[in-house]
Amino acid sequence: MAPSKGPNVGGAKGVAKGGAKGGKSSSLSSASRVSKSKDGPKRPPAKEQKTKPRTAQENLKRKKKRVYTEKELDLPELNQITPVGVIKPKGKKKGKTFVDDAEGMMTILAMVNAEKEGQIESKMMKARQLEEIREAKRAEAEARMKERKNKFDDVKDSIRQKKKGGRGDKAAEPTSIKDSISKPGRSKKKTVAFA
């Protein structure tokens, strides 16, 4: 069905166009004949002709036939996604740029070396600073520990002295009392019991 329809339609169109063209040509020829044959009295029909071509399809078709290129139109370019890597400068050479000469290699190596040494230097500086800080912290902690220990020892000593003093007083009194009251034999027994 489809193939049969196609040609029919096309044919019809062709026919129609052909008919229109034919009509146009005939009218033009008749007008020219009329103008040639009679000069003055037949001007109104000429006016009608002026109005016709502006609205007529023939004139429009003529305008369409003039093809403008993109540059002539000077329209803004389409919004296209062009990745950064794709756009290449026009004058530049295509492909990779090799480093085969010793001088080029040496310059690159010198740059890399300088960079690396800078990094190492900064690392070392940082490490030294950190080490200093650590040392200072450690020294501080040690000093604090020592202080605490000293304090503790002082407290211990004071308690010992207190105890000694207390005992000494207490022991001195009873012994003196005991000595005064009790016999020397009993006191000996007590000392043994304490020991």
Partner: protein, 184 residues
């Protein structure tokens, strides 16, 4: 086989400079007898060889050429560079920092272990943290390379069981990675 581009050269030198000092220049500068050595890229692998050898290698088709000179490492698809164990000889000659390990640390290293503080016999002075080091045994034979876990000052205070150097490559790979070491 082709010579390296500027970017590739920079990445390779940056990586090599992590392990070597200023003497890396000696790799490129022509020797006293006039021979010059160059870096070449074959597939993703980077080789270091004499220039004459590089020129001769052009006569072989790329597919047929398996290896040429000393393999330094591999370029990854993301543009980074991985140093291979085979570059150990180059690195050891121009090393910036070195670690000497005791006999008790050699076998653990060759089996793929890290270097512990207990294994360290000597350490280069003023070595920062995360710096590339060459690991040598007590007879100055290079065994591999790695990255320091701590700075040399801190390592002295570490426990004997704590890691001093993280291993990157060791000579044991010649046996362990025998199948894949030279495959392209």
């Amino acid at each position: 086989m082709r010579s390296l581009t500027e970017e590739e050269t920079r990445t390779i030198f940056t990586k090599l400079a992590a392990y070597t000092g200023r003497s890396l220049n000696a790799l490129i500068t022509p020797a006293e007898d006039g021979t010059q050595s160059v870096f070449r890229l074959q597939g993703s692998r980077v080789y270091y060889m004499r220039k004459e050898l590089a020129n001769l290698s052009v006569s072989f088709p790329r597919e047929a050429l398996l290896s040429c000179g000393t393999m330094v490492g591999k370029m990854t698809k993301t543009g980074k560079f991985r140093i291979n164990l085979t570059a150990l000889d180059l690195l050891a000659q121009h090393a910036r920092y070195k670690v000497w390990i005791k006999a008790n640390g050699v076998m653990p290293l060759l089996y793929g272990g890290s270097v512990l503080k207990a294994h360290v016999a000597r350490f280069s002075e003023d070595c920062p943290e995360n710096a590339g080091v060459i690991i040598l045994d007590s007879n100055d034979v290079p065994l591999g390379f790695g990255v320091t876990a701590r700075s040399s000052a801190q390592i002295a205070k570490l426990d004997p069981t704590s890691i001093a150097v993280h291993r990157q490559a060791d000579s044991g790979e010649y046996l362990r990675e025998e199948d894949t070491l030279f495959t392209t």
